[in-house]
């Protein structure tokens, strides 16, 4: 039995957490929006950011896999490398699956039942859906993977260096961000920052996100290799 596959199968046993809960969260958000859109006497388009909920959920899933599944996997005599590879394989498959379904829903919302008949745009969003269905697929996949890895890296840091490691990084990060914000204000960087990003499509950004995600992934592997339970 290949132990990396074993890790994927171990994750997949949690059907609730991987297959049901993300959709329950997303669809309840969608349903609320749909009801509001149906009863709102407005002719304007309603565009909401409710789609974010499933992405945020992925970040939480990243934290939980490290907190709950890592100690269990080690207890099952799984080595850290196989746990990591299995986790990466699982999250890649999940991200592809979710992205495909989201694109399908976006296609229905955009082209089949326009705005679900109530001019609600929940899945078919401006900017993100601009580049067509394939680019949308890449965007969803890349963002989802990235958020998962942020959660996973964060939890790996906690696993490796404990609470103090997380605090040190959080405080250092806050200081750096605050400094950068002050500098941006002082040197009036904002217009050029806006101009810089305006030149990119959502697909460009999603593609740039991929190498960043790989770096996060390598970082968490290095932390995980020396992590103890």
């Amino acid at each position: 039995m290949n132990r990396v596959q074993g890790v994927v199968k171990m994750y997949a046993r949690d059907k609730w957490g991987w297959f049901y809960l993300p959709w329950i969260i997303l669809l309840s958000s969608f349903l609320v929006n749909l009801i509001i859109a149906a009863f709102l006497p407005m002719d304007e388009k309603i565009v909401t950011g409710g789609l974010m909920s499933i992405f945020i959920y992925m970040m939480v899933a990243g934290i939980l896999s490290m907190f709950q599944t890592f100690p269990f996997a080690l207890g099952m005599s799984v080595r850290r490398h196989d746990f990591f590879m299995g986790t990466m394989l699982m999250i890649t498959l999940i991200s592809i699956g979710i992205s495909v379904i989201l694109c399908l829903l976006s296609f229905i919302e955009g082209d089949v039942i326009d705005g679900w008949g109530v001019r609600l745009y929940f899945f078919h969003l401006p900017y993100i859906s601009d580049g067509g269905i394939l680019s949308q697929l890449v965007i969803y996949f890349s963002v989802m993977l990235n958020l998962y890895m942020i959660g996973f890296l964060w939890a790996s840091l906690h696993r490796r260096f404990g609470k103090s490691g997380v605090y040190v990084l959080a405080i250092a990060g806050l200081i750096i961000i605050t400094l950068l914000l002050y500098m941006a204000n002082y040197f009036e960087w904002w217009p050029s920052i806006r101009d810089f990003f305006i030149g990119f499509t959502a697909l460009d950004i999603a593609l740039w996100l991929l190498p960043i995600t790989v770096c996060l992934s390598v970082g968490s592997y290095l932390l995980l290799r020396r992590a103890t339970v």
Binding site: D14, Q68, F72, M76, S77, R79, R80, T228
Partner: protein, 297 residues
């Protein structure tokens, strides 16, 4: 005899605190070991290092002839059951057993089911909702049904009642007879398990205090009781690890095997001789005052 585990001057330091201090020992194939000692003595740390869940500060450790860290050839042969094992929140008992089947090559599903019946475990129930005793039973089932060549139980029966504990001992002996393997059992209930143990390692304050065959240990100490004056002359020059006064009577526990000549002189002096159980012996050896006394004399 093949050495399954070989530790040489194994040391683990946490900041100022040395949890395991230059411990050297060998674990041989197909024997049942008892790893005994008080709370915080370093037993759990040693077991975590054997299974590569913790890293040693210094010293050498070989398990199945190789470094255990990130080594599948070694790790797949080990099953480590510990009291503090965490499980994913969403997992039920059957999820844990099915996952164990994925990772332990010798996993016996039928045997696992038989054990589930014996411990009356609700397979559908989530791990989170189990009582402490049931949680321990899950670990025991994984430990037994995995049939790992090296199976380590660290305090496996927190919250288990006497009946369930005796089921565990019986099943362990039964299965050990049919499928010999190396077992390390760490526990406080020394009297209960001493009949199972073939070899005993005692760790105290991070140091290896004792590394003996259980049979040799059973005759390692004895207690003499009698009038104080006669006891005093009897114990002169002997290593006394415990002594108690009761009126004119004195009872002294002597570390060392009982020689025929001593037995004769004790009988002549009207002194009673009683064997010391392994549990008593270990209590004497690891409780601070007795240890001091033993070194003073």
């Amino acid at each position: 005899m093949t050495a399954i585990v070989e530790a040489k001057r194994l040391t683990k330091v946490y900041g100022q605190h040395t949890a395991v201090d230059q411990v050297s020992f060998q674990i041989e194939e197909n024997k049942i070991y008892g790893l005994l000692g008080r709370n915080g003595a370093g037993k759990t740390t040693v077991m975590h290092m054997i299974t590569a869940q913790l890293f040693q500060t210094s010293g050498e450790l070989r398990v199945f002839g190789a470094e255990p860290f990130e080594n599948n050839e070694v790790l797949r042969q080990i099953c480590f059951i510990k009291e503090s094992q965490k499980y994913p929140d969403s997992f039920g008992v059957n999820d844990v057993l099915e996952t164990a089947a994925l990772f332990f090559p010798n996993w016996d599903r039928a045997y696992a089911n038989e054990l589930v019946q014996a411990f009356k475990l609700p397979v559908k129930r989530r791990i989170k909702k189990l009582s402490r005793g049931m949680l321990s039973a899950v670990g025991i089932i994984v430990g037994l049904a995995s049939r790992a060549p090296l199976t380590i139980f660290d305090e496996p029966y927190l919250g288990l009642d006497a009946v369930a504990r005796s089921i565990f001992y019986d099943k362990l002996m039964e299965d050990y007879a049919e499928h010999p393997r190396t077992v390390i059992l760490s526990t406080h209930l020394i009297d209960e398990v001493s009949r199972l143990l073939e070899h005993i390692l005692v760790i105290d304050e991070g140091k290896l205090l004792l590394n003996e065959e259980a049979d040799a240990l059973r005759g390692r100490a004895y207690t003499v009781t009698g009038s104080a004056a006669r006891i005093d002359s009897f114990i002169a020059g002997k290593k006394v690890i415990n002594s108690e006064m009761l009126g004119n009577f004195r009872s002294a526990t002597i570390y060392g095997s009982l020689l025929a000549s001593d037995q004769k002189s004790a009988e002549a002096a009207g002194l009673d001789i009683a064997p010391v159980t392994i549990q008593q012996l270990i209590v004497y050896l690891t409780s601070g005052s007795a240890r001091k006394e033993a070194t003073v004399r």
